[in-house]
Symmetry: C2
Subunit: 191 residues, 2 copies
DNA sequence: CATACTCTTCAAAAGTATTTGAAGGATTCG
DNA sequence: CGAATCCTTCAAATACTTTTGAAGAGTATG
């Protein structure tokens, strides 16, 4: 019933925009970022209609974007006393969000790559024993190069795993390590 | 003059494809990945025409993609004795490539976000002292939330810096740390 | 300096991705 | 049960990205 179209403050608009862009950069739809940001900055849960008006989107877009956000577990449905509509809030545990997204998305991507590299290596293994000199040379070089790619991918995978393991507990551990390294270098922001 | 259209082996095609996808996933054009991969797996430097034929692209596409790759420093021009055309090779130092891309692209992205968050905080700083109760509440919550985003961004920035500093020297140091953590947990792939 | 060859550019075409809004479900309320 | 409200779906429209290929600029060669 509250018909006041929550107008965004300039700072809210700016943050939503930046988050939208960041998300886009990370391969999501811009509106996912914008909607999440609005919810993240909202004192109370918001309805779909509310978001639709605030961000000037179609009802369909809001519905689809929200369901995607729900699927990624970065937004939750909330029941508000005596209201018919659904209300939504943002997950505020940033690390949780990130780890969820990473573990679902980046991991499968990298897993796929790793498998492909392994297969390629297996094929080249055979060609390295070819009768043809040229073929052997080519196969040998490629084998070495792909092995590099594989190594890098495995490393990326481990990095991700480490990050995820870390994030699952708390924000800090890995963080600390990295901040530590940095301490001596730039005095930067006093805060 | 060598008119033999280097046909790709299945393993080459597969790897080029995967690398293309990975690159696409990371926000580049798929063809950048494919071209780079072909060069990376090539025994000798290749000409633009050669790539055009191998990958069935238009001359324009090859030209533009190559110049983009050159701009990112992941491919280099090479002069081949007695040849009129330009020849190209891939940067084979993977860490170098990655650190170059990261430092140019991700860093500016994150820097921009950080600035935006800081500005938003400054604006909210004022609103937190508003006469209106509601406004104060809203501003206070948003301040706290954006501060979280800012913290996270700064962390990301530091992580990147650490990675870059590492990569600039060698592939290993950061790597070692991460591999260490992992050792005890999952026996996984026996190789 | 004319010719041949190569590379680049760019407007148009093709291809993708996102958004819209109307139709249809689903749920609650009287 | 019927009306009202809200949510979802999906084909069509729009917006955005990438690719094409022809025109032209640049350069080495005879």
């Amino acid at each position: 019933m509250t018909k006041e179209t929550h107008t965004l403050w300039p700072s809210e608009a700016a943050v939503s925009d930046v988050v939208g862009r960041l998300m886009e950069f990370w391969g999501f739809k811009r509106n996912m970022g914008r909607i999440w940001a609005v919810l993240y900055l909202s004192v109370e849960p918001r309805s779909a209609e509310d978001l639709r008006e605030t961000l000037k989107l179609s009802s369909g877009a809001v519905s689809m974007t929200l369901s995607e956000l729900l699927r990624w577990g970065v937004v939750r449905k909330v029941w508000v006393q005596g209201e018919r509509k659904d209300f939504y809030t943002a997950e505020v545990q940033l690390w949780r969000m990130i780890s969820r997204v990473f573990s679902e998305r980046e991991r499968s991507e990298i897993k796929f790559a790793i498998e492909a590299f392994e297969e390629a290596l297996a094929e080249l293994e055979v060609l390295k024993r070819s009768d043809d000199e040229k073929t052997r040379e080519r196969a040998t070089l490629q084998y070495a190069r792909i092995a590099q790619l594989l190594e890098l991918s495995r490393l990326g995978q481990k990095l991700l795993d480490a990050l995820l393991a870390t994030a699952k507990l708390d924000a800090e551990p890995l963080v600390r390590f990295l901040l530590g390294r940095d301490k001596a270098r730039s005095p930067s922001h006093p805060s």
